[in-house]
Symmetry: D2
Subunit: 253 residues, 4 copies
Amino acid sequence: MLTIADTQFDSRLFTGTGKFANGQLMQDSLKASGSQLVTMAMKRVDLANQTDDIVKPLLDMGAKLLPNTSGARDAEEAIFAARLAREALGTRWLKLEIHPDPRYLMPDPIETLKAAEALVEEGFIVLPYMHADPVLAKRLEEVGCAAVMPLGAPIGSNQGLLTQEFIRIIVEQSNVPVVVDAGIGAPSDASLAMELGADAVLVNTAIAVAQDPVAMAKAFAMAVDAGRAAYLAGLGAVSNQASATSPLTGFLD
Amino acid sequence: MLTIADTQFDSRLFTGTGKFANGQLMQDSLKASGSQLVTMAMKRVDLANQTDDIVKPLLDMGAKLLPNTSGARDAEEAIFAARLAREALGTRWLKLEIHPDPRYLMPDPIETLKAAEALVEEGFIVLPYMHADPVLAKRLEEVGCAAVMPLGAPIGSNQGLLTQEFIRIIVEQSNVPVVVDAGIGAPSDASLAMELGADAVLVNTAIAVAQDPVAMAKAFAMAVDAGRAAYLAGLGAVSNQASATSPLTGFLD
Amino acid sequence: MLTIADTQFDSRLFTGTGKFANGQLMQDSLKASGSQLVTMAMKRVDLANQTDDIVKPLLDMGAKLLPNTSGARDAEEAIFAARLAREALGTRWLKLEIHPDPRYLMPDPIETLKAAEALVEEGFIVLPYMHADPVLAKRLEEVGCAAVMPLGAPIGSNQGLLTQEFIRIIVEQSNVPVVVDAGIGAPSDASLAMELGADAVLVNTAIAVAQDPVAMAKAFAMAVDAGRAAYLAGLGAVSNQASATSPLTGFLD
Amino acid sequence: MLTIADTQFDSRLFTGTGKFANGQLMQDSLKASGSQLVTMAMKRVDLANQTDDIVKPLLDMGAKLLPNTSGARDAEEAIFAARLAREALGTRWLKLEIHPDPRYLMPDPIETLKAAEALVEEGFIVLPYMHADPVLAKRLEEVGCAAVMPLGAPIGSNQGLLTQEFIRIIVEQSNVPVVVDAGIGAPSDASLAMELGADAVLVNTAIAVAQDPVAMAKAFAMAVDAGRAAYLAGLGAVSNQASATSPLTGFLD
């Protein structure tokens, strides 16, 4: 079972609330995913009202809320958003996202570390979104982040696990859970991330923009379980020669 | 549900009997896989004896036998092996495998087509192992093969879906089921094959050589279901730009 | 120096005449490429007239003509085209191309082998276009082909060396020159093919559709030389760990 | 022609002095590479003596020295090493390298930015080694770095351009030259980096550990020129369909 900070999760598939065609589809998809941790942008939430259209159904289905600071361009904005989130939603959990560039939404390593340090000191449980940078992952771990969230590819691009080799290094070196976030476009990508030893994946776009988001959510849930099971079962070595599965003596010898 | 020739399959994960450390582990693994079609080399079977150590447990678990002609170096040898198999095991089903080269076990397109044509005429239900060659796939379909089995990578190499683009073309053009065979090294590879629209995959080495083959068999079963579900659910497009899942207006504006 | 059949080539970059915006650009580009073997479709040549717009300039620049049977859908059509080419152009050299499928233009292994055998017997110097199929490569070599021309990706797709692992096997096993043909989209692809040990590459689309075909032709010429030189110089091993190029003792110890 | 800070370079292949079997081979290889900028670790240089075995031959061949801070584990150590280098070698040029992890030698984004800012203020011409992190690249540009040096793969691994998509983004966004450094294992990798629009590449291990380093140095020089020429000539689009280079009307119609 996966433990992050003080909480245990049966499901290693984390999800998000963006890009769904409507609220009902979002609810149905997230329910189908079995996800127990769901991220949402503060800007999308009606902060004055706990019965918000997004928040209420999530709480009803038993999911833990993971407000994120998407839209923050520096540490100051992110800290502001984090405090808003805590007050409005009553949770210390936070997905820290700082991306000054609107085109590729790549995270800022400097501001992210600065904000992470400050927010951990304020008592937040911080899960930072980051490039697949092994040294930064150690730095974020050292300032007290509860997990690290390296990207597979730019947010929403569905390009898959472009950072595979660096994810492998991060997993090898990390003492906190590694959650692969962003870029995962298909269940096979999620499965691969888990086979590499990631502790969980966060998938949003690939579910939300599928032709049938509910069915896709289920597909991702299975793929995450498959990848985790394969990691635990110990994958065999890759070879650049063939190796017969059947005896090769000729039949007519 | 998948139909090949006259038979329906609930499971789209086909398996094989090679390389397991012992018979009990093989049985337990195949059971865990849920596989309903299991291939075995004729050379490994005690042909005079239906209660053979390999065959008996497979029949007991309700799996359909798919004898293969592994070791055959040309059409003549393959046809000989096929007839032996039919007589000994009482099945018309056949995985046709002809590989003259002992190092990479790559299939022979010419001899495979020749043998396939002859065996279909003799009443066999022929599933030919082949390179991921779209034109050959059509040729094999035209002579009456019940399915085609293009490879992902050399047999037993665990290198994954090196032939992805060609599998995609074969799936687009085929009127018979496409079963990706050979090279699949991890559940993520199996999932990817299914996402591309393959009808089934055949996995042997990656299960047999795992540290825990029974657990790995289950992992593959889940991954195949995940990939199939994703294919049906309609994957979203891949983009080389990011696309925000959350609104991007600044917080302190 | 590369020898195919009775002819020596200084340049390992072969080219083609298709898709250029106009004849002058084609001539300038082929001249810039330094190519000594140039393929052209029989249909594009004015067969009655040796001073054809395409043929004449090629002969003037000293290139050897390599007529191809593009458009042929089976062995019979290819043999017919081959004889036409020999008569019209006075050359026994032939690039054998048989692709029944108009969408992906993938070559037909069965008809190609059949036509190759017949044409070799008629005295042609046959260079067959083929899938990257190691067993077929050996078959074509055995019937007397002067070289084999495995594809990197579908013709004109610029997708690069999708078949890398299979090209590697073909090179390892072949006793005739291996010319990688089709799919090469950038000089880096050509260089990679040569690094794998290919004897030459054939590039057409990537030059013809470049913004500046003449400059691109030169770029390919350099890349082919670079890849060949690297192959001869012996590439170092790939590692999945870092290895310091500089001493790592700390400065302030 | 490439300009970095106040200096123009004819050659876009930068090199290093590590891992060569002996000094003579190093000199011959670097000469063959045509490189005009050569990096060396401060620890390897006899700081008291300008006629050092490494430095003297480099100056004789007209190469600009680029001392690096390899071995530095934080900004403080790097700044110390930088000052040593300036004093000993009389150059303000510096390759800034900070990698606290001895296994993968991945660079530290936080310490690198801090040291870069300080060293620029002290008058150094700073070329920072960095992960292929687009936001960090902008930050380093903003503090006054003369170029950025994103990695392709871990140092010395020869794994090639694993970070291709991120290099593409960095090139698109950068206002200073982009020099791809680390991981380049073959001329095709160098060519690809240049095709993506990189301004130069730095290659050391792949040359030094080749069977014939002098020949490999020449191969890299050609590949870099090829890739640059291709970038300027404008590569054609990649398609996932074939596109005939020759007319497809049947011959026997």
